[in-house]
């Protein structure tokens, strides 16, 4: 079955460093573009790329719904009986998930069970707890974007100005633009071939064609949605969440902020 995916077109005339890892059920890749004159700093750029990959792998271990020893599994076992203390990043991830749930009227929902309204986030204590039995959270719809955002942040933190980070076929973050292409990195959406150009921006893609993948929270059934539901905007993790909501609704959510652009392609 043909599904929507992204195909980064990385035409790099200069030297570049590439990194990859298998995580979150997919393959993540990072390309750091460096000029020939910078090759003396390759050791530094390699260390930066590896640090970004290590962060993706750390988030894979932390956010897996299926791994018994992940933080998410710990939350699902514990949050009914006691609040679970969280780090800043994980807490803000849950806040973002809750925000998109609210703004999409529930089309995006990371809970299995009773719904996001029973997930209690205490900003003062920085904890998460569950308000009733039968809830679990599954961050599969937002974790890849979060990992892409964190990797891109590490690249920028250490001085990278031209790079592309992508998480499998669903999430991309562009750092700057490639040399010679100031408008940005060109990404093609398969199968239509529609292209998107990104510079310091992100792209997230969901597809209704992946029938065993996205559940409509209002019906509990797998969606039949559009062939491509893509969003571009400032954050890969929010984009991850929004593209899922677009796929579920088959349309742009009414309360989606104007900073987000949507691409919706129906089946022929």
């Amino acid at each position: 079955m043909r599904t929507a995916s992204i195909r980064p077109r990385c035409v790099c005339a200069r030297s570049d460093l590439r990194f990859a890892t298998a995580a979150m059920g997919t393959r993540f890749e990072i390309v750091i573009e460096t000029a020939a004159a910078e090759s003396q700093h390759d050791v530094h750029w390699r260390a930066v790329g590896e640090a970004a990959i290590a962060e993706i792998e750390r988030l894979h271990r932390q956010l897996s719904f299926f791994a018994k020893d992940s933080l998410v599994s710990h939350i699902n076992r514990t949050a009914l009986s006691a609040p679970v203390r969280l780090d800043v990043d994980t807490f803000s991830l849950l806040q973002d998930a809750q925000a998109v749930w609210r703004l999409s009227d529930g089309a995006f929902d990371v809970t299995r069970g009773s719904g996001m309204d029973r997930v209690i986030l205490d900003e003062n204590a920085r904890t998460v707890s569950f308000g009733c039995d039968g809830i679990s959270i599954d961050l599969g719809g937002i974790a890849k974007g979060h990992a892409v955002d964190r990797a891109a942040a590490i690249l920028r933190e250490h001085g990278v100005t031209r790079a592309l980070v992508h998480g499998g076929t669903s999430s991309v973050a562009a750092v700057g633009s490639p040399a010679g292409s100031p408008q940005g990195w060109t990404i093609a959406l398969a199968p239509s071939g529609t292209t998107v150009t990104l510079s310091d921006e992100t792209l997230s893609v969901s597809s209704g064609a992946m029938r065993e993948h996205i559940v409509d929270p209002s019906t509990g059934a797998f969606i039949k949605g559009p062939r491509i539901a893509a969003v571009t905007g400032p954050s890969a993790r929010l984009g991850d969440a929004w593209s899922t909501a677009v796929a579920v609704l088959g349309a742009r959510p009414a309360r989606m902020d104007s900073e987000w652009q949507t691409i919706i392609e129906a089946y022929d």
Binding site: V43, E50, A67, K68, A82
Partner: protein
């Protein structure tokens, strides 16, 4: 509530503790009403320090009250993980200012442990010190000697394999007729990475990439081999006697002075050989240990473990409950940490793997030793012996000459 009151409270609830022993998650995640939080400080907020913070925060009875690092960005990273933690650039200020902090966890570079341990002992703190505990035999002995003077306080080394519930199962098998006589031991730590970390503003390469500095680093053989050596010491009743080794740089030809691929063979006093390899050039097999016995082999791979029987070995009763996994021509019997309890609850299939990363169990043991006055799982004495053996392995790798232990 004072420490004495706390221990009395726990002793009086021992009956109820038995009922909830099957559910260790409950004991450590839900603070007992009226129980005060034990305040700890994490010294060194690199990757390991951050992992320590993440895992120890799962223990509901603990508050990370302070984090310390020479780099402000790392102090912030520590505070981002532990809400409310006070940040420090100098650990001595913690000892001077925060008398409410009873326990410290030391996760600085290896060669910086000794003075911090000495100062923590002088300040009468409970101490968790990452392993290997030192980069020289003299420093390892000094740390063990300092810990011995810290009466009434816990010293636990970060030899986390000893706290891993699966390894307790592995150890019981290795010490039984299920495995019988050990003929060979093997361990590896393979992970493809350059081993370099980016150097943030305000730091030097020596600060951050100390593992690649031959003046202070004990290399792959010391840093990873120490843990593997300790695992073998833990599961067996024997000690290493001598070691030979070799090292080569196969991939990361970036001017480094320490090899990216090492091997050593450590001969035990009972003449059993232990082979270890570590490489930064290939990831296959990751981290695992294997003990080969005349009745079976046992493989422990951090969060999973298997038992491979010889065809002529007797069947053990517990094998009836067990799941199996095929590895080519070999059938591995899956080992579970609490097989009997899980079987009684009908949860065998769900019991595969661990509920927490191994580091969590080591930190839980540390806090339990403090709270309940229990024997320390990984003592300073064991850490000293394993660290000295790891340092010898590194010397053997670099010199290609036999090192006696």
């Amino acid at each position: 509530m004072t420490d004495t009151d706390r221990r009395t409270f726990i002793a009086q609830t021992a009956g109820s503790m038995a009922a909830i022993a099957l559910f260790p998650e409950y004991v450590f995640s839900a603070p007992i009403i009226g129980e005060r939080l034990r305040k700890v400080a994490v010294i060194g907020v690199g990757a390991q320090g951050r992992d320590i913070i993440e895992q120890i925060m799962k223990l509901g009875s603990v508050e990370v009250a302070a984090v310390c690092d020479v780099l402000p960005t790392r102090v912030k990273a520590g505070q981002d993980r532990a809400a409310g933690a006070e940040g420090f650039a100098d650990y001595r200020d913690i000892f001077g200012k925060r008398t409410d902090i009873e326990a410290v966890l030391i996760a600085t570079p290896t060669h910086l442990h000794t003075q911090i341990v000495r100062d923590a002992v002088a300040a009468k703190k409970h101490i968790y010190c990452e392993a290997p505990i030192a980069h020289t035999p003299d420093d390892a002995r000094a740390i063990a000697a300092a810990a011995a003077t810290n009466a009434g306080r816990v010293f636990q080394a970060g030899l986390i394999a000893r706290s891993n519930p699966l390894n307790k199962r592995v150890r019981s098998l290795i010490r039984s007729d299920s495995v019988r006589d050990i003929v060979l031991m093997y361990a590896q730590h393979h992970h493809k990475t350059s081993g370099r970390f980016p150097v943030p503003a305000g730091a030097t390469d020596a600060d951050i990439n100390w593992r690649l500095n031959p003046d202070v680093s004990i290399g792959l053989a010391g840093e990873h081999g120490t843990h593997a050596i300790d695992f073998m010491r833990y599961v067996r009743s024997s000690e290493p006697a001598r070691v030979t080794g070799r090292g080569i740089t196969r991939l990361w030809n970036d001017g480094r002075k320490l090899p990216d691929t090492v091997q050593f063979t450590m001969e035990w006093v009972d003449e059993v050989a232990f082979d270890f390899s570590a490489t930064l050039a290939n990831s296959y097999g990751g981290e695992h240990q294997i003990a080969y016995g005349t009745n079976s082999a046992v493989k422990s791979a951090v969060t999973h473990a298997w038992y491979f029987k010889e065809a002529d070995a007797a069947t053990q009763g517990w094998e009836v409950y067990a799941s199996r996994q095929q590895f080519g021509a070999d059938e591995g019997i899956v080992l579970l940490a609490d097989a009997t309890q899980l079987a009684a609850q009908g949860l065998l299939k769900e019991g595969i793997g661990l509920e927490h990363p191994p580091l969590y169990y080591a930190l839980a043991d540390y806090i339990k030793s403090i709270d309940e006055n229990l024997p320390v799982v990984a003592t300073a004495e064991d850490a000293m012996k394993s660290t000295i053996a790891g340092i010898a392995a590194h010397k053997a790798v670099m010199s290609r000459a036999v090192q006696a232990l």
